[in-house]
Amino acid sequence: MRQRPLLHTSYQSDQALMNSWTKKVMLAVLLVILVLIPFGVLPVITFLSETAWLRLLTTVAIFGIAALGLNILTGMAGQVSLGHAFFMGVGAYTAAWLGAAPGPLLGLGLPIWIWLPAAGIVAAAIGVAVGPTAVRVRGLYLAFVTLGLVFVGEYVFRNWDSLTGGSQAGRDFPGFTVRLWKEETPLIDFSTAGSWFGVELSSQAKTYYFVIALFIVAVVLVKNLQRTRVGRAFQSIRDRDIAAEIMGVNDFKYKLIAFGVSSFYAGVAGALYAGFVGRMIPETWNLLLAVLMIAIILIGGAGVVTGTVLGAAFVVILPRFVEDFTHWLSSVAQAGSGFSSWLADLIVSTGAGDFGLINTQAGTAPGLSTAQLNQVLYGLLIIGFLIFEPLGLYGIWLRIRNYWKGWPFTY
């Protein structure tokens, strides 16, 4: 058996989290990289240690946690939800109520080990409460029910001034400081700069470590869920719910579990997102955020954990990339003559009245602003992936990997 490392002789070894040597090595390397990023000691990706990039990476992890939740519901259990943003909002405001310091707005000042899990639990409870409707209403009608949740939720958040700070005004959310109870000095403070074990770290670096650690826990939990009885039940419901029911899978029960677990993830992610940004207006938890979550799991690959991670990274980093790319193009366009600058000039508009697909000059020429371009790209990618590669980025990765493994054979 030693000569055939990929030969699995038992179900257990086949289903193991890391069923091959490559995976173990790659994972170890990845973990080391993740730890080293804030120090800026790695070649090539040194720029990731900049504040702005650390914040982007932290956002990737937070959106990743949220999207993992949606992936459980939509990717694994096949229940379409456009309402993920609502559950994120529930989590965020639960966190605020429990964790924020008492003041004019609701806040109990409890420590993080209470408010963070509670954010998930309350969101999960509401998810389970919505569940029965969702089980009764099927398929596309369900998509509209969850869409309705977003609108109703936004209405409630906007009007519940004492909790949310009111529309367009918003409130502060509790930061990432670990306290035993309500004592003055926190045990561990992730949100102010300082040194850990003699290593000087910025507040962004600390927040990054905190969120990445939670993200890894979230990934492992989903990976495990996928391999359990519950995970298999989800998949059978997704593939054919009546068939699943005939085989003894309790449709009602597992759909409720799917809603609950998914909402738990959303709640925790919402609390993290709000705590990370610091101040949020109630309008944050709207349809656009819900659609962004859908975009993440579809671009990454529905039903696959790796895909979700890839999707989150892609969707969060794309705006930054588009912006840099546009600036680079406009500098090429301005640099002088030649074919490349002519081409760049066609794509970017650089001056008044200049034609261009992308517009960097405010209010002068037609052309998409970079924010609009991002949205258009999300849209096109969703369409493109659904039509050409339903497995998303993960599907592309699979093709590359299989090509690599099989080379020189094409199969």
């Binding site: 367009q168 610091g278 944050t284 912006e323 500098s331 924010a371 050409f388």
Partner: protein, 463 residues
């Protein structure tokens, strides 16, 4: 299957190209206001003695940290602009004003030989994006030429103070004149709260006994509620009865709230309406009330107005029944600052049509110009140095482009109480000759506003 594989290959190839280019572009995120080709990354260490000797400046004495590069002769300013959100029509014009102003300054020798370069970013009027953009820019620029939006600026206020960076708020929240709320922002123009005092006081003078009741319809948040509180207090001071209080009731993201407010205003039959919204929302509310036969006088915070509304079906009705106030001077004024600004705009070719919003860009740029020059004279062009210089400016003179500002003394002394009150000018705007404003009271301060004892922000955001 073959077609699919081909497409995949194209996607993949594009992806690789894109990834390759991305790395190269990663460290170059500035746009130039002038034609200066972009140069190096900003120096993060103190530059003391650059090798070249220039006769009109002694760079050896100038301290710098971020955003000022004496070797390259560049000062970088950040603009946190809403280029695609709900206030974009206004902000795009303001940004153009900034650009035209600095292009002219750079062409005439810059600030003691240093050219000013603008780094403009789109915040999309979203708080998280705004914060993210701030984080990206703060290591590149010496100060922020503007920061759009009240909740957005509040969100970075603490960070600005921690980082010791100066910013000009592109929002007229009353808290910017309140030292308890802000120490790093340069207030300018009459604030939303005081503006309500000014306008209601003006209408009281105009209408006399015909003015007894008022309806108030505003956006929520510190923009809307600041104006709403001002209007409520001013109405009380003027002895008006508030027959509909829609403070914070109009939500830009929710069409149905426009109808709710319009119906309530029409039902209330108030003598006047005070709105604090944006222009399209205002037009929608206005249209729905006149469809129900409502005939009252309309006024409100300046961002609720846009002369382009005069082209709409309700343009005529608007011109006949509304008054507005302008934070800067109006297009038709002959003050030297206005004449100069109009000339520069025309020469630059950036002028699309007359609009006093360009002046707002000029005013912000002139404030920053004053701060930068003061910092240069003090020999400290670090982020903290520019901030300190700005906060010690006794008077910033705009040559009539806007009422002068001061940053020293007590809030009650330096808070701005003056604005230009105008009526829409239908014919002038439609013919393209004016910015659509007929001034009825230039540099006006109503008694209500003059007597108001400003001790702090009207509306205080709760954390």
């Amino acid at each position: 299957m073959k077609a699919k594989t081909k497409w995949l290959a194209i996607f993949l190839a594009l992806g690789l190209v894109v990834a390759a280019c991305g790395d190269g572009a990663g460290d170059d995120t500035t746009t130039t206001a002038a034609d200066t080709p972009d140069t190096t990354q900003p120096d993060t260490t103190d530059t003391t003695a650059p090798p070249d000797d220039d006769d009109d400046m002694e760079p050896g004495e100038i301290l710098t940290d971020v955003g000022v590069d004496l070797d390259a002769g560049v000062i970088r300013l950040g603009l946190l602009s809403d280029l695609s959100g709900i206030f974009a029509p206004l902000v795009q014009v303001i940004v153009a004003g900034h650009e035209v102003y600095w292009e002219n300054v750079n062409a005439n020798g810059g600030i003691n030989g240093l050219e000013v370069e603008l780094v403009t970013t789109d915040t999309t009027y979203e708080v998280p994006v705004h914060v993210q953009r701030y984080e990206e820019l703060k290591d590149q620029v010496v100060a922020f030429g503007h920061s759009t939006g009240s909740p957005h600026t509040v969100a970075i206020n603490q960070q600005l103070q921690d980082d010791g960076i100066l910013a000009i708020p592109l929002t007229w929240y009353s808290g910017w004149s309140d030292p308890a709320i802000n120490s790093n922002l340069m207030h300018h123009g009459i604030n939303y709260c005081m503006e309500a005092y000014n306008l209601i006081g003006f209408l009281e003078d105009q209408m006399g006994d015909d003015l007894n009741t008022i309806a108030i319809a505003t956006f929520p948040g510190d923009y809307g509620l600041d104006g709403a509180l001002g209007a409520t207090q001013a109405a009380e001071a003027a002895g008006l009865e508030v027959v509909y209080d829609g403070s914070g009731a109009v939500n830009p993201a929710d069409e149905s709230t426009f109808t709710e407010a319009a119906n309530a205003i029409a039902s209330s039959e108030a003598d006047m309406v005070y709105v604090v919204t944006n222009a399209t929302t205002f037009a929608s509310i206005f249209g729905q009330t006149i469809a129900q036969g409502y005939q009252g006088v309309w006024t409100g915070a300046n961002p609720s107005w846009n002369p382009a509304l005069l082209e709409s079906p309700v343009g005529e009705a608007l011109a006949a029944s509304s008054y507005w106030s302008s934070y800067t001077n109006v297009w038709t004024s002959d003050a030297p600052g206005v004449v100069e600004a109009k000339q520069l705009l025309e020469d630059s070719g950036r002028l699309e049509r007359p609009s006093s919003a360009y002046f707002e860009g000029f005013v912000e740029a002139r404030m920053m110009h004053a701060a930068l020059e003061a910092a240069y004279e003090a020999g400290d062009m670090t982020q903290a140095g520019v901030l300190a210089a700005a906060k010690s400016l006794e008077e910033v003179d705009f040559d009539g482009l806007a009422p002068n500002e001061s940053y020293v003394g007590e809030p009650n002394d330096y808070v701005q109480r003056t604005s230009n009150i105008f009526q829409p000018d239908l014919e002038g705007f439609l013919s393209g000759e004016t910015a659509g404003e007929t001034v009825v009271a230039p540099n006006y301060t109503s008694d209500l506003a003059a007597n108001y004892d400003f001790t702090g922000a009207c509306f205080v955001l709760e954390s």
